[in-house]
Amino acid sequence: MTLIARRLAGHLARGFVMILVVATISFFIVNNIPGDPMAARYEKLIEGGMAPEAARQAVKVLYGFQPDGSLWQQYTDFMAGLFRLDLGVSVSRPGTPVLDVLTDAAKWTVLPVLAGTLLSFLVGIILGVYAAVKRSGKLGDALSISGSLLHGVPQYVLALLVVMIFSTLLGVLPADGSVDILYEPGWNAGYLGSLVEHALLPVLTYALSAYGGWILAMKSSVVTVLGDDFILAAELRGMKRSIVFRYIARNAILPLFTMLALSLGLLLGGAVFIEKIFNYPGLGWLLIGAVNDRDYALMGGAFLLITVGTILANIVADLFYTVIDPRVRSGEEVS
């Protein structure tokens, strides 16, 4: 307990420093972004038929939300805001706090990515064990090569292929949006069904792209454990196959849990391509939008949130390890 508490404290301290650093970096990056969103907005208004003066005035009102003062002043304001969980006000969505926009988008990212990750994890580790056991056979080979390939292929390639096959060619599943608005949100079959229907392809793509990594990791972990003496020892003691299998599985899966926690950290930022291609309104999608809108505040906030997610996942992964591995629990370092 004290061990965990101490580890946690250390991690939090380090994580905190890191968040400050990342926040600072993102503040300065974001404040140096070239491009004139006011001009863009102005052009849009003009194009929409507004008279030039009116458009100029409207743009001025709109951008009245932007902070001013010296850079240092802005920086200290920004950092102070951070402590109040205030990430500022979105530029492209005047009046809406960045945090609200982010939390709205985050829920659309978290669920599908979580589902995709868990799905791929489950399938991946099962097939990974298989690939390790049959590693000299044809099937094992096929499994690992397919794993490597899926792992290696960029997400957008997979996503495009999935859209091509399921949406364009077969037309069985929608590749746009999050849920049909006609259903009343709540626990009703229609709404949930629509939710699932829309999430299916993104989840599938996410699972496909992650699954290769799991297969490979599990395979190599199992191969390592298989080479460990205690497995042979257990066999020589005449342990039941099922027990030996449990020994292998538990020891092999342990490092994967850490990876799982870490990959859940990427959960917030890992779906940019998928969200873009499936028009799924999550954080990645928001980030792209913010980049295109030159929404400084939103961009910085999204980036910060994604990073914080990763940091937290790192902490969780480590604590998890502490709980699950007796070696670490008793203070020994395992490399």
Binding site: A233, G238, Y247
Partner: protein, 337 residues
């Protein structure tokens, strides 16, 4: 299966490993009998095939190796080489206890010793798990450990000597009467080694076991074994009662080996190293005597003919030079003063 020490008859055992250069024998035509209730020691240098031989006793040679020929008859089990599946599994642990070469790492790092003990009990259908735990505690206590504490520990909380003792406990707890110890003391320091050897001897006597100890250290065998077998390049070159073999080695390799041991007393000038170097799987001669490259008694036949093992009372030697010479020359070979 009786509660008696079983006898073991290894006959013409050959084990090969698949290598890029084809299947090469790591153990070739080994014939060895373990008398019930005896401690037999096998010495040999690194790579001579000791572990492979030991694993063959459990029919547990790991791929890419396989038993290519011969038999291993164990009283009450029959030919282990023919055993498969469940039968084989049940034989392991229950009839044959195996103490690992690297007993340091023979425990699951994630489970306490006690839990692994229970797994072992369940694997072998032990109904009285409490009894098993009691038995284990007793054994551990017998070896000078606090049983309750050890059963509650994880591997990493135990020292090397303790782990080795746990290994022995796990080999014995199911009442196996044939125990194979592969390098039971390598990587332990002297005092612990002496301790473990004492325990091996005592437990052997108390429980009435047939024990096979494998080591590269003649001292260890000399300390515990009744009978001694010397391996070289996958072949058994000499065997016999320990005292006799040590006192009057016949095979030139055995002689050289004993001569090469640094001694605490006596004239240091007499000791000398064997010339040449031990063979590896790839460099072991395919035909003829495996030792001839380093042998001072080398003859022409040695190059072509594999020497047969010839028995002389309890002693067996496989050497052209020794076996062709009259008995008197054997005695005449220089003995240690």
């Amino acid at each position: 299966m009786s509660n008696q020490a079983p006898g073991v008859r290894i006959d013409g055992l050959t084990v090969v490993y698949k290598t890029p250069a084809g299947e090469l024998p790591a153990v070739r035509g080994v014939t060895l009998t373990l008398e019930p209730g005896s401690i037999t020691g096998i010495v040999g240098e690194s790579g001579s095939g000791k572990s492979t031989l030991a694993l063959s006793l459990l029919n547990a040679v790991q791929p890419p190796g396989r038993i290519a020929g011969g038999s291993v008859e164990i009283d009450g089990l029959g030919d282990v080489v023919g055993l498969r599946g469940e039968e084989l599994r049940k034989a392991r642990g229950k009839h044959i206890g195996y103490v690992f070469q690297a007993a340091q790492n023979s425990l699951n790092p994630l489970k306490t010793v006690g839990k692994q003990l229970l797994d072992l009990g369940r694997s072998h259908g032990v109904d009285d798990l409490r009894g098993l735990v009691r038995e284990a505690k007793e054994l551990l206590g017998r070896m000078g450990l606090d049983g309750a504490r050890v059963l509650d520990s994880h591997q990493h909380e135990l020292s090397g000597g303790m782990r080795q003792r746990v290994g022995i406990m796990l080999a014995l707890v199911l009442n196996a009467h044939l125990v194979v110890l592969d390098e039971p003391t390598t990587a332990l320091d002297m005092i612990t080694q002496a301790n473990i050897l004492r325990i091996v001897r005592e437990v052997h006597a108390e429980r009435g076991l047939t024990t096979l100890v494998i080591t590269h250290d003649i001292g260890v065998v000399a300390e515990v074994a009744d009978r001694l077998a010397v391996m070289y390049g996958g072949r058994l070159v000499e065997q016999g009662p320990t005292r006799e073999v040590l006192g009057a080695p016949r095979h030139p390799y055995t002689r050289g080996l004993i001569q090469a041991i640094p001694r605490l007393t006596g004239d240091i000038g007499e000791a000398r190293a064997l010339p040449g170097r031990p063979p590896t799987l790839a460099t072991v001669p395919k035909q003829g005597c495996v030792f001839r490259e380093r042998c001072e008694l080398r003859m022409d036949v040695c190059d072509t003919v594999d020497p047969e093992t010839v028995a002389d009372g309890p002693r067996l030697v496989a050497c052209h030079a020794v076996n062709s010479a009259p008995a008197s020359t054997t005695v005449a070979t220089k003995e240690h003063a």
